[in-house]
């Protein structure tokens, strides 16, 4: 296991994850667009927000890969199967807490369950398991994150 494996795995994994989510959107499975959600925290211009969001998403992908690496080191084991399991946990955490609860709380342009008449959100909140973005969103989220985790785990394992 090496940290470089995590860096490369994080990059490739995020690339595949982003492509998978985008494909899910094009096929009408989900309206979730993580780069857009992240970028609009910094810009109200949709185009600029997406550009910023893609950058942030890749940074987040690297950060999560580093976390995976840390856990692999602690337990002394790695691999694509274990990485895929981490990806599943990662997806469930994202769907139930990270994007569903935490992001609306800190995002300046996103509504939350506490938004009332005296607030001015522009983005609809994701809801539990991000179901507001389409009924297939949980499935797309889980599948893409499992693939991301497997790639990260695989690269770390192969990096010696």
């Amino acid at each position: 296991m090496s940290f470089w494996g995590a860096i490369v795995g994080g990059f490739v994994g995020t690339l595949v994850l982003t492509t998978g989510l985008r494909a899910g959107s094009e096929f009408g499975l989900t309206r979730m667009d993580l780069p857009f959600l992240l970028g609009t925290a910094f810009s109200g211009d949709r185009t600029r927000a997406k550009a910023i969001g893609y950058g942030l998403h890749f940074v987040a992908g690297q950060a999560f890969a580093a976390m995976y690496y840390g856990v692999f080191v602690v337990i002394g084991e790695s691999g694509w199967l274990l990485g895929g399991t981490f990806g599943l946990i990662h997806a469930l955490f994202a769907g139930t807490a990270l994007v569903s609860v935490l992001l609306p709380v800190v995002h300046p342009r996103m509504g939350s369950t506490q938004s009332a008449a005296n607030s001015r959100p522009l983005l609809e909140p994701p809801g539990f398991m991000m179901l507001n973005y389409g009924p297939s969103t949980p499935a797309v989220t889980v599948i893409t994150h499992v693939i991301y985790g497997a790639i990260v785990g695989g690269f770390i394992s192969l990096s010696g």
Binding site: R46, T113, S115, A116, L123
Partner: protein
């Protein structure tokens, strides 16, 4: 302020036999997430928690026995005077009795600090004499199908069911006791005394028990917020009071977490007493979008306009380029319809939640979307690139589907036909798409195709949608029935190649569908039994159309009559019963208030010209 004699209701502690209140007797209070309906007798008969489209906590308006309510009224005969505090959504009801008078102020407070998830506040102030009052909270979760249980927590009575909890907090409002699933208390309101009752509502989180001074502070802040919001509205034309009340009513229907606007705050209030025309309106219709954006912009509400447009474009992304008729307030596309085993308002069954119209094909929504985009782009002088790309793709899609049959703007449940209004709206869509392209706001690669197809739609409408015998455009191709939705052709600038056909259509609709200022929507088959009342939106469209055609005197006269039809606090339901003038349909009805605002604004603009 208005007054009317009311007897004390039947014993609210008995729990049965209470009559349904006329729909006209309700006022709405809300916080941008949910809405409560308060009857003239002080009973809150409708409240969904945590959100407008969630199951009800108080649903007595749909089932007076099982639904649950929050009653508060004198124990002796009383008369009622009622108003909204000026320029607010805070309701003030004054009960006048032989022994004195008492004022109740009702509000859903806006959050500040560590506030309850949702908070319903009722403040009781003795104005004169000594008035015996009683209040009773009867929580019935999940549309009345989950009575929940009552427990005491930190000295407050709390109703619990699943992940929902409601704490009944009161100060100087008697000694609350529990009886058969209700919290009851009696109070003697003496001159100069003040009591508060607050329902602290939580959903999937711990309850917050508010302090008395915090409740007062939030109520003050709420009043100040509404006054500030109303004073920021820029409309200064005729019927301003009705326009501002409509704006405040619409603001209650704006679902703050997403920016969507609900068609109404209720489900299944009947379009015919005892009939089956009972629908769930707690969704956002694309049909209303152009009117919504137009009204927001004319009122000087840029934030609400932007939030709504963002929401609409996000919600419609999933099935792009095909549009759904309606979306959930959170942006979801699924609205499965089911029937609840409730009595229904005055026995009007079925009580439906969900709306099967979500699955219908309605071609008119494309015109609404493009008119919305045109208004938004004109106001902002631009569109974001990805929205512009999507609009161009939708315009291409319209070119392939406008020849299809559809269910039309009124969502008939009979077989699809070629509705002329739908075709006209396809023309509006393609016309606006071409205009956006010419202005460089959407890609113009297919502009010539859109222009060509718009002409083809127009040729179809003129050949198949005009009746020489009726001297009017008609409801569907080849029919001789009229439809008040055709008034929208005037409002949205449909080109009738000369102007006389639209003018004649307005005359024909007034003659055939009208009675004074009131209009029926249409004649003919719609796949449902029974009839319905006069459709108020169409009457305001008539005012708008008359104003745009330069018939200002007729428009003003009609508008005066319609404004007088509002209830005592300036709100409207969807329809008016032809014989009695009673309200019918869901309440308060967003489209009626949108149409009122736009009619007044159009009149004002024409008057200035």
């Amino acid at each position: 302020m208005s007054a009317a004699t009311t007897s004390a209701a039947t014993d609210p502690f008995s729990g049965t036999g209470r009559e349904y209140q006329p729909l006209r007797s309700y006022a709405a209070i809300g916080d941008g997430r949910t809405v409560a309906l308060v009857a003239r007798d002080g009973s809150i008969d409708w409240l969904c928690i945590p959100d407008l489209d969630s199951p009800s906590l108080f649903g007595a308006i749909l089932d007076s026995t099982q639904g649950g309510r929050f009653e508060l009224c004198p124990e002796i005969p009383f008369t009622v005077e009622r108003r909204y505090l000026p320029d607010t959504n805070v309701l003030e009801t004054t009960f006048v009795t032989d022994r004195g008078s008492v004022r109740v102020t009702d509000a859903m407070t806006l959050p500040a600090g560590l506030a309850p998830g949702r908070e319903l506040v009722r403040v009781i102030e003795g104005l004169s004499g000594l008035v015996p009052l009683r209040w009773s909270v009867e929580p019935r979760f999940a549309y009345g199908f989950s009575p929940g249980r009552l427990e005491t927590r930190l000295g407050f009575l709390v109703a619990l069911a699943g992940s929902d909890a409601v704490a009944v907090c009161s100060w100087s409002a008697g000694e609350p006791t529990c009886n058969r699933g209700r919290v009851n208390a009696r109070i003697e309101a003496a001159e100069g005394t003040r009591a508060q009752i607050a329902l602290s509502i939580s959903h999937q989180e711990p309850l917050v028990f508010p302090a008395r001074h915090e409740v007062d502070q939030r109520l003050e802040n709420t009043i100040a917020y509404w006054k500030g919001w109303a004073s920021s509205r820029t409309y200064d034309g005729p019927w301003r009071e009705a326009v501002i009340r409509s704006a405040l009513g619409l603001k209650l229907l704006v679902f703050a977490p997403s920016g969507a606007i609900a068609a109404a705050a209720t489900t299944s209030l009947p379009e015919q007493l005892g009939g089956e025309r009972n629908w769930d309106y707690r969704y956002s219709w694309v049909r209303d979008s152009a009117f919504t954006l137009d009204a927001f912009l004319r009122l000087g509400c840029p934030y609400e306009a932007e939030a709504f447009f963002w929401w609409l474009m996000q919600a419609s992304q999933l099935k792009h380029p095909r549009l759904q008729v309606l979306y959930r307030l959170g942006g979801g596309s699924s609205a499965p319809e089911r029937i609840l085993d409730l009595d229904g308002y005055r026995g009007s069954k079925p009580v439906r939640v969900g709306n099967a119209a979500a699955g219908q094909s309605q071609l008119d929504v494309y015109g609404d979307l493009f008119q919305t985009a045109w208004l938004f782009a004109s106001a902002r002088n631009g569109l974001d690139q990805d929205i512009a790309r999507r609009l161009a793709e939708i315009a291409d899609f319209i070119c392939t589907i406008w020849r299809e049959q559809d269910s039309g703007i009124w969502e008939v449940r009979s077989e699809p036909v070629h509705f002329i209004h739908s075709k006209m709206m396809c023309w509006v869509a393609l016309d606006r798409a071409a205009k956006l392209a010419r202005a460089g706001l959407v890609p113009d690669r297919h502009r010539k195709l859109w222009e060509r197809e718009a002409k083809a739609v127009q040729t179809y409408v003129e050949a198949n949608g005009w009746s020489e015998a009726k001297q009017s455009y008609v409801r569907s191709a080849g029919s001789r029935e009229l439809d008040a939705s055709l008034l929208m052709a005037v409002l949205l600038g449909y080109d009738d190649r000369g102007g006389h056909r639209l003018r004649a259509t307005v005359r024909a609709i007034r003659k055939e569908l009208g009675k004074g200022p009131l209009l029926y929507r249409y004649t003919g088959e719609d796949g449902l039994s029974g009839g319905e009342g006069f459709f108020l939106t169409c009457s305001f469209w008539l005012v708008d159309a008359l104003a745009r055609l330069g018939q200002l005197d007729e428009a003003a006269e009609t508008m005066d009559t319609l404004v007088a039809l509002a209830n005592d606090v300036g709100l409207y339901a969807e329809e008016v019963e032809p014989e009695t003038g009673e309200f019918l349909g869901n309440f308060p009805q967003g489209l009626v208030h949108l149409a009122l605002i736009n009619a007044a604004a159009s009149f004002s603009e024409q008057q200035r010209q």
